[in-house]
């Protein structure tokens, strides 16, 4: 494959990925979508969407941040244990912990409804969605942190800290956490992004009072005018694209740091 053929094909695929994004958000800021951009730009659709669907954005942010906090608190210690232990048990646990990624969200969601749908008011609460997001996102946090832990001399650093007299909390907070910050950042960006966009589970888990951003989007796609759907999609992109860019940046940085070590 010659350079120019390769470049041409690559450009074509890039266009395939990017063009629809541009085409999709354009009606959301165009005064009259049938006349096109010449009719001028407007924030009217954005304001209307925000008035009707602003709540879904806030709920999604609330769920994403809660998911992040929980996956950090639960996932980082788990990754640490998995990195420190080489035995068969640890590998089985690791295998188990990443299983939720491999099972379609709709199956997990249905299971959650069967198991806990009738427990108190849980079904009606946003916490029900949070549970689903935690289950789905936890493996990504564990993996991101585990990858960094395995790439460094964890045992050596910990022994060195012990030799200096550090207790376990001292070495965990002072030596281990600072050295896995990159992995935690990558995992966090991933978790927030996935939670903000999670639809496969959330469609079953939500109620009319707990609609998230993607659920609202699905609703808008079937029920609303193109301008509104586009404006709504634009809001979603404004939230998610910076996160994705940050993720690429963090991954690139991790690669460079890895290359130095």
């Amino acid at each position: 494959m010659g350079f120019w053929t390769g470049l041409g094909f690559t450009l074509l695929i890039s266009a395939f990925l990017i063009l629809p994004v541009l085409v999709s958000v354009l009606p959301g800021i165009t005064a009259n979508q049938f006349e096109g951009l010449s009719s001028g730009l407007t924030t009217r659709w954005l304001r209307e969407v925000w008035a009707n669907y602003g709540g879904t954005v806030l709920l999604s942010l609330q769920i994403a941040l809660s998911t992040l906090v929980i996956t950090l608190l639960v996932g980082v210690p788990a990754a640490y244990v998995l990195a420190r232990h080489a035995g068969v048990t640890a590998r089985l646990v690791e295998e188990a912990l990443v299983m939720p990624v491999a099972v379609p969200g709709i199956a997990t969601a249905l299971g959650l409804i069967l198991a806990y749908g009738a427990v108190g008011d849980l079904r009606a609460s946003w916490l029900f969605i949070l549970v689903g997001h935690v289950v789905f996102c936890l493996p990504f946090m564990v993996r991101a942190v585990l990858a960094v832990l395995l790439s460094m001399d964890l045992k050596g650093l910990e022994e060195a800290a012990r030799a200096c007299g550090a207790s376990w909390p001292q070495r965990f907070l002072g030596v281990i956490l600072p050295n896995i910050a990159g992995g935690m950042l990558a995992g966090s960006l991933m978790v927030v992004t996935l939670s903000l966009g999670e639809f496969n589970m959330t469609l079953l888990l939500h109620t009319p009072f707990t609609r998230t951003l993607p659920v609202g989007l699905a609703d808008a796609y079937t029920a609303l005018r193109t301008e509104m759907a586009s404006a709504y999609t634009l809001i979603f992109f404004v939230l998610i694209v910076p996160l994705l860019s940050a993720m690429q940046w963090a991954a690139g940085r991790a690669d460079r740091v890895g290359a130095v070590r």
């Binding site: 460094m152 001399d153 050596g156 650093l157 022994e159 060195a160 800290a161 012990r162 030799a163 200096c164 007299g165 550090a166 207790s167 001292q170 002072g174 030596v175 600072p178 050295n179 910050a181 130095v260 070590r261």
Partner: protein
């Protein structure tokens, strides 16, 4: 401040069944520098880690610091300093941060920590690198940071696991002298692991030669060199000739050209400080003799061999 260390019946069997150490006793005097010497895999690191508190001995083994049983005391409470083969410097801290770590975790006031870190930086000639990231240091500098970090909290005993093995020969020699001077000035009990007999000779008060999980001999460098307990020790600390029952070092022999000499020169190899001459007699026995590069005999020459008098 420095302690006397006793090991009693300390063995180590790994879960897989590998016996890294057969139960052994060892006495190390306060302030002494003991070198653990032996080939790779003979159990030096394991023994050092038992003393450090990074491993537990098999049931029945005991580690005593000044008579106090510390067997079950983990390393973080033993007050030992340790220099690891890979250095294991903390990448998230700069040079000064690494050196001061042991002081900070002990809750020592900041001003005191800063003073002690400055002192350590000066002692190890690292002052200008205080704020340098550790991954931007050369091998020798990293080694000195590891050393400074280990001694900054004034440990009771200093443990060093092949601290120079990652460095090139010149630097190794230079740092060996620095470490030697440091250990003498600190007067600390030190246990130093190496597989390099020259390093062992240069640094040790006593050497503990190890062979396959056992102590082969303990003594001064001279003891091991001149009165090796067995062939293994003899061969490990230098080249030897066997004369009947006796072991003789090549430099303890001298050549004298003589037409009736029973030995024939096979080969003379110039090695810088001396020439190593290989000899053979009619019965096919071989002998190595080291001599100054003066009047070196040519191959084929006949010579007599005599033992040198005490220098």
């Amino acid at each position: 401040m420095s302690v006397a260390i006793k090991l009693r019946g300390c063995g180590k069997t790994w879960p897989g069944g590998t016996v890294a150490l057969h139960p052994l006793d060892l006495d190390i005097a306060a302030g002494e520098t003991l070198v653990l010497l032996g080939p790779s895999g003979c159990g030096k690191t394991t023994l050092l880690r038992l003393i450090a508190g990074l491993e537990l001995p098999d049931a029945g083994g005991q580690v005593l610091f000044d008579g106090e049983d510390v067997t079950r005391l983990p390393i973080e409470r033993r007050n030992v300093g340790m220099v690891f083969q890979s250095y294991a410097l903390f990448p998230n801290m700069d040079v000064a941060g690494n050196i001061g770590y042991g002081l900070r975790v002990r809750g020592i006031p900041r001003a005191e920590v800063a003073r002690r870190v400055d002192e350590m930086l000066e002692m190890t000639r690292l002052t200008e690198f205080a704020r340098r990231r550790v991954d931007a240091l050369s091998g020798g500098q990293r080694q000195r940071v590891a050393l400074a970090r280990a001694i900054a909290p004034r440990p009771r005993v200093l443990l060093l696991d092949e601290p120079l093995s990652a460095l090139d020969a010149r630097l190794r020699e230079e740092l060996r002298q620095e470490i030697d001077a440091l250990l003498r000035s600190l007067g600390i009990t030190a246990i130093y692991v190496t597989h390099d007999q020259a390093e062992a000779m240069a640094l040790s008060d006593r050497i503990c030669a190890m062979e396959r999980g056992r102590i082969a001999q303990i003594g001064t460098g001279r003891d091991l060199y001149h009165r090796p307990a067995n062939d293994f020790v003899a061969g490990f600390v230098g080249d030897t000739n066997r004369l009947g029952e006796e072991l003789v070092r090549p430099e303890q022999l001298a050549l004298h050209p003589s037409a009736e000499g029973e030995w024939t020169v096979q080969r003379a190899t110039f090695l810088g400080p001396f020439v190593r001459v290989k000899l053979r007699d009619a019965a096919g026995r071989e002998l190595m003799v080291d001599m100054p590069d003066l009047a070196t005999p040519a191959p084929g020459a006949r010579v007599e061999v005599r033992r040198r008098g005490p220098a």
